[in-house]
Symmetry: C2
């Protein structure tokens, strides 16, 4: 018997168990080849990846350590007597191998795999194998089965008495594309319920939840969220309090650092979350551009078909809009700068970024046309009227008031540097991926005031020495990371003599 | 700046860096989304997966910890000032993504990927993604390119003045198939040089190195190995002292626990190691059976073609022999028991397992026919003569004497239990995978005396209550693991009334 010990090491989402090499009850090396153990006590079982410990200060020989997340999941007190077992392979293992071998799986197999993933019975390596195997071969029927399995694996929300629950989702990759914070107030002002839950950034410089948190509290529990939606018709909260499609969080945690993005996984990820959130009508914003997630019109068409097929099959009324993904939207990248742009649009200020305004109106117009009472084609005009009249701003202020003040005052980062053009010419292109990366290195979203302020957009004339954008940061080390990356390549292509700056 | 600290945690082959959440120089969370950091000092750079630490007893806030293997690889003393950087993506990243996306790679791409893997610049997740992507689509030209890249990535051996360097390799999966220890003395007794390096078991109950270690020292450095081969014409040593095809070790460390085995990877793995070891002629033993690695004659034929294609292209004279893979070979499974069987064959004892003897003779005969001086078809008779005359035994004794005595005396495990038939009938099949697993759980190869002694083989008549095999173990906890697994399903199918035991 071993005594359970909590080890103060955070191993991301993977369960890690620690066993001393000097352990006398179990031979650590015998578990090493297979890499996994099953920790057992009082009916609790937990499968974990095994690390061996040589330092009694970290773990005494008669103890079994669990990483922070694994300890929390196991749910027993330190000192509890535990024993080790060789792990029983997860039920879905055969299905996983069939998928790796290139075979088509049925819905039962996907349910078993997703259930094991949601319960953290897969390690990172197995999750990666599943993702790559799905990416290499997956039928539309399998994408549908996967979506259903993911939607059913966690909590599901229902909105009784509300036949129409609308939502929007952008497939991402375009910095500054913060349309949700403009669309929600417009749609709610019209009277369509839009209970928006958003994520925080994982590898990007800002998620909608991070940006909204500059203006208001976003950590709202479910009863409060229901009350806010009942009163205001909409909300903009962080989705982390509701465990919608938990397998998706695990898949994303492996997919993002690896930077693999498959169409099928994207569709299953987005639609399973929306279905579980109780949405009935959904508009998907799909930016297309050379540095966006979707790069060509052909890709966009195929992805749209897949969204439509799965959406129809799971009972979601869904429309896909293709948008310009050739450069960042608005001027700010990072929570504080993006919140500034959003408020400028809602306040109808003269200096508000026109592209953010027009994209938001187009999306809101599309959503408003889900309203049977609205005349076909009248959505855009109605959206514009609600924005121009100040109704959307008033709705946003109501939502902010109901959600409460932000947890801390966020200010623009005090360290700043301008990156300048090295030749005269015209801005030909801006690399979305690179701008996001620079803003992230500058500290966004952890410092909400870190990020990038774009001073030139595609088509703008520039002179050599004129600033293209400004980097903001709060901390010296991160300021250097960001400036270093920008110095390697600015992310801007300027055509003067035909050769682009980069 | 952070001070370098060695953390007494062994994380298998993956580099892991530890950073305190309370660190003031770097914001731990900013690195978390991407999962990786680059540790930099005095021109040394190391890419590592990041774990965050909440316990100052494990890691003070101003330190950067490295796991044992990562610390050794980084090669600097504790206390050295280090800084962190965002990792530059490995050069081969684009190639990896192209492979994941299902594209064909050229040799340059494979060389870059294998170079990064051999230098531990990939995490487990990336290695898994590479393996699964290769498994889902890979041309024969790609398999060849991968083999070349792997062979060239590490050390290579040359045997000057020896135009013919022979070797054999079994693709594995059949417990007890310890033919190398019989083939080497026969072939060396004939006069063909056979410098055999073998591996220790990773997930199996014994590798050839583990079994040979019951009889002699196997941890031999390269100069000593050369001297032994010069004197005796052969050796049976552990390959770990020579860094042949180091990327293969990394690939195997991810592949085995995940239990994915692709044909292409197997060919590249085996042939790259043989090529790097300086072999010129190779016989491959390919057992085919329902619980072996190769399950059907069709699979065997396709795999044989792939071995021949790649072998020819890299200048290895190669012959593939298909053998019976329907049950374990010999009677013992586990180092001590297998060494017993091997010596019984070499000593021409009446109770020597006939199947192990015949398989070894067939393989040795094939190898002997590489000798231009030997008449075509005369290999088997020559092998039999060398074994029957005691020449092979004498050669084995010479090799053992040259390698030196074993590091410790290995005895059969004192705990034992017989697993009995539950009905009268005849043994229909023995599950190789399950027998290996039971022997492994019993403690093999860590306790060389742990394992399984098979008392019945396929075709033998049995009566209800008669023992099928005996489990041996040294430690109580492992004895229970093995007996528990055997109680769930014995691994034997006995057909009495038409229904098999399992």
């Amino acid at each position: 018997m071993l005594r359970l010990k909590r080890i103060g090491i955070s191993t991301s989402r993977e369960n890690v168990a620690f066993l001393s090499r000097a352990c006398t009850s179990y031979r650590a090396a015998a578990f090493e080849g297979q890499e996994k153990v099953e920790v057992v006590a009082n009916g609790h079982r937990l499968v974990a990846t095994l690390n061996l410990v040589n330092d009694p200060a970290i773990l005494p020989p008669d103890c079994l350590g669990l990483s922070e997340q694994a300890f929390a999941r196991f749910g027993l007190a330190e000192g509890t007597a535990v024993r080790l077992d060789h792990p029983h392979p997860p039920k879905s293992r055969e299905g996983l191998h069939a998928k790796i071998a290139g075979r088509e799986l049925d819905e039962t197999c996907f349910r078993a795999i997703i259930e094991d993933i949601a319960h953290h019975r897969y390690g990172k390596v197995e999750v990666a194998a599943f993702l790559v195997a799905c990416g290499s071969f997956m039928t539309t029927a399998e994408t549908l089965a996967l979506t259903r399995a993911m939607a059913d694996a966690g909590e599901t929300l229902h909105w009784p008495g509300t036949p129409l629950v609308v939502d929007k989702h952008c497939i991402g990759g375009i910095p500054g594309n913060r349309t949700s914070m403009i669309v929600v107030p417009i749609v709610a002002a019209h009277g369509l319920p839009m209970p928006k839950t958003s994520s925080r950034a994982i590898t990007s410089p800002a998620g909608t939840a991070d940006t909204m948190e500059v203006l208001a509290n976003v950590e709202i529990d479910l009863p409060t969220m229901r009350a806010i939606v009942a009163e205001a018709g909409g909300c903009l909260v962080w989705g982390g309090h509701v465990k919608l499609s938990p397998a998706d969080d695990v898949l994303i945690s492996v997919e993002r650092p690896l930077n693999i993005d498959t169409r099928e996984q994207m569709v299953a990820s987005i639609l399973s979350k929306k279905k579980a959130a109780g949405s009935t009508h959904l508009v998907i914003d799909m930016p297309v551009g050379p540095s966006a997630k979707v790069r060509t019109a052909d890709d966009a068409a195929r992805l749209r078909k897949l969204f439509e097929y799965v959406g129809d099959a799971i009972g979601l009324s869904l429309r896909v809009t293709i948008s310009d993904g050739t450069q960042p939207v608005g001027r700010g990248i990072g929570p504080v700068l993006e919140a500034r742009d959003v408020m400028a649009v809602l306040e109808n200020r003269a200096d508000a970024p026109a592209d953010l305004r027009e994209r938001s109106l187009a999306l809101a117009g599309r959503i408003l046309e889900f309203d049977p009472a609205l005349r076909g084609g009248a959505g855009l005009a109605r959206a514009r009227a609600l924005l121009d009249s100040g109704a959307a701003l008033a709705k946003m202020q109501q939502i902010m008031a109901l959600q409460g003040p932000p947890p801390r005052l966020a200010r623009l980062g005090g360290l700043s540097r301008e990156i300048v053009a090295d030749q005269d010419g015209r801005v030909l292109a801006i690399d979305c991926y690179r701008m996001a990366r620079i803003a992230r290195l500058a500290g966004a979203p952890f410092d909400p005031g870190a990020g990038i302020d774009l001073l030139k957009k595609v088509g703008d004339p520039v002179q050599a020495g004129e600033p293209l954008y400004r980097i903001h940061a709060e901390r010296e080390v991160e300021f250097r990371f960001a400036c270093g990356l920008a110095a390697e390549a600015s992310g801007y292509a300027v055509n003067g003599n035909g050769k682009g700056q980069n």
